[in-house]
Symmetry: C2
Subunit: 102 residues, 2 copies
DNA sequence: ATTTTACTTGACGGAATTTGTCAAATGTAA
DNA sequence: TTACATTTGACAAATTCCGTCAAGTAAAAT
């Protein structure tokens, strides 16, 4: 299973883009992008959006990959991880149904 | 749907315990416990464990409630929240199957 | 062989967030 | 009023996050 970093690097290389080029588009130092691609730093939401643009990817897909990875790493070491996710699903439903009302 | 804070407060009051008493058991200032119960501060993992002890609750249940609440609040405002949770489930499975191997 | 190019690494500093302490303010019941 | 429980906000210390920069590595080009 590919990490967000791996996905980004693969796409960037397949397009023949340099770290420097992509980084300047994101308006960050290439060192940071290098670290993002190797999962040493986490991209900001804005980074993800811009990355999707320049790498010609669907930004929602990339966001989903990014957020789900974050959550998975947070709880993977819990033996009750899947219970947590199921409970989270219920809560999300509940929260959303409330947002509609207000 | 009850928040962790509400659950804690309800249980504490039903046992007739004071903030001061529970807080000292957790080894934190009562002001912090007050805030935890009103969802102004987040309990640490250790807080949760000790709370379950003194409030005679199942610590796993409380941890699940705590973690799922945290995740739900993180993503509830995303329209793709449920996709994120589904993807997270896959990743957790993948990560766990790798932990077994090593 | 040395120069150029792409990328990596780690030290550093500032901003923002977190975590806890404390005392004053508020509320409430005796 | 007094006493007691809780709340609130100011504050400081500790930690985390975010980015810059320059030196280091590695590989290709000249």
């Amino acid at each position: 299973m590919e990490t967000v970093g791996q996905t980004i690097r693969a796409k960037r290389e397949s397009l023949g883009l340099l770290l420097r080029q992509v980084a300047s588009y994101l308006d960050i130092d290439q060192a940071i992008l290098s670290k993002i691609e190797r999962n040493e730093r986490k991209p900001s939401r804005d980074n993800i959006i811009k990355l999707a643009e320049i790498l010609q990817m669907d930004s929602e897909d990339l966001l989903i990959q990014f957020m789900s990875e974050k959550i998975a790493l947070e709880i993977a070491n819990e033996h009750c991880a899947s219970k947590v996710l199921k409970a989270a699903e219920q809560k999300v439903k509940y929260l959303k149904s409330n947002l509609e009302k207000n």
